[in-house]
């Protein structure tokens, strides 16, 4: 029995379901009469089964965890988005306040420390919540200044 038939090349696309309907129907009829093409189709199906069953391993859970750890952001971020925004705002306010203090000017020429600084040197700081606490102090001071305006 010859393994070669002029239609053998089409069996690959037939196996993948990539032939137009008319060509598929034509080849269906041919395969039923051609042992070489029927054998070719059976071999391609066996190859597909082998590759599906043994062609690659499942992703280990540890690999998935490593992947997440190496990507920007975290799956369940411990720092709320608002705290991050306030931290950025707090950093900007600190820079402005620092420049203001350095210049020696103040709204009323007073030597009085801003409330956030008084609080900062008297309170215990929890390192885990530091960004949020700083953000809170800045916010409170901003609110106080707003009330005093």
């Amino acid at each position: 029995m010859s393994d070669i038939c002029k239609h053998t090349r089409e069996i690959s696309a037939y196996h993948d379901g990539e032939l137009p309907l008319e060509e598929r129907a034509r080849l269906d009829a041919h395969i039923s009469r051609c042992p070489a093409c029927a054998l070719e189709l059976e071999r391609l199906r066996s190859i597909s089964r082998l590759l599906m069953e043994h062609g690659s391993p499942e992703m280990p859970a540890i690999a998935l965890n490593r992947l997440h750890a190496g990507l920007p952001g975290t799956r369940d971020s411990a720092i709320p988005r608002m705290a991050r925004m306030l931290t950025a705002a707090a950093a900007a306010v600190l820079v402005v306040c620092g420049a203001w203090l350095w210049s020696g000017a103040g709204a009323n020429g007073s030597d009085e420390f801003p409330s956030w600084e008084r609080v900062a040197v008297t309170l215990q700081v929890d390192p885990a919540n530091e960004p949020q606490q700083i953000a809170q102090w800045i916010s409170e001071n901003l609110l106080l200044e707003q009330d005093n305006d």
Partner: protein
């Protein structure tokens, strides 16, 4: 029976991720990474390189997410990035690497020596033999076989991912299968 919880679509998650919701991007990773890992492993042949390729793929996707236009499926887009990363991995590490014969199964050594693989006696050897045969294909042939057989892509999707004409996909796949038939002939009818 309660209402079925609807999973967000890829489009929903992409919209949220581009808006700054990192958790949405990580949900996309959970959804697509397992299948892409299998694709990466099949393309590069080992877990360490597969990890690296996958990391680069998702890091690149994160950076370019705003450029994703939605013309193709998100998975297809990710596969495009992954295939390019795998090709880069091949170029940087060299395909003509020295492989210690001691690390190969007897069947793998037989393949290297004679070009055929005798039937494996155990399931674990069979997996190693199939992986070895995949590994000996040229990168072009390995890509089309892996994308078709392990990823279930259509010819048009593969043409998109590989950026070649559909006819090229079809002919590469035909030639790759002739190679596989020859190297796995003892497993086939």
């Amino acid at each position: 029976m309660g209402a079925k919880h609807l999973q967000p679509t890829d489009s929903d998650l992409i919209r949220r991720a581009t808006g700054g919701d990192d958790a949405a991007f990580h949900e996309l990773v959970d959804r697509h990474a397992p299948q892409l890992y299998r694709l990466a492993f099949s393309l590069v042949g080992n877990a360490a390189d597969a990890d690296d390729v996958l990391q680069e793929t998702f890091a690149g996707a994160f950076r370019q997410l705003k450029k994703f236009e939605g013309r193709a499926a998100f998975r297809t887009w990710l596969s495009q990035i992954l295939v390019r990363q795998a090709a880069r991995c091949h170029r940087s590490r060299g395909r003509a690497r020295m492989v210690s014969l001691d690390t190969l199964s007897g069947a793998a050594r037989e393949l290297l020596k004679n070009g055929t693989v005798p039937p494996a006696g155990r399931e674990s050897d069979l997996r190693l033999d199939v992986l070895t045969v995949l590994d000996t294909l040229s990168p072009d042939h390995r890509e089309v076989v892996v994308l078709r057989e392990l990823h279930g892509m259509s010819y048009d999707e593969m043409a998109d991912v590989l950026r070649v004409p559909r006819g090229t996909v079809e002919s590469r796949l035909f030639r790759a299968r002739q190679e596989l038939k020859d190297r796995l002939k003892d497993y086939l009818p």
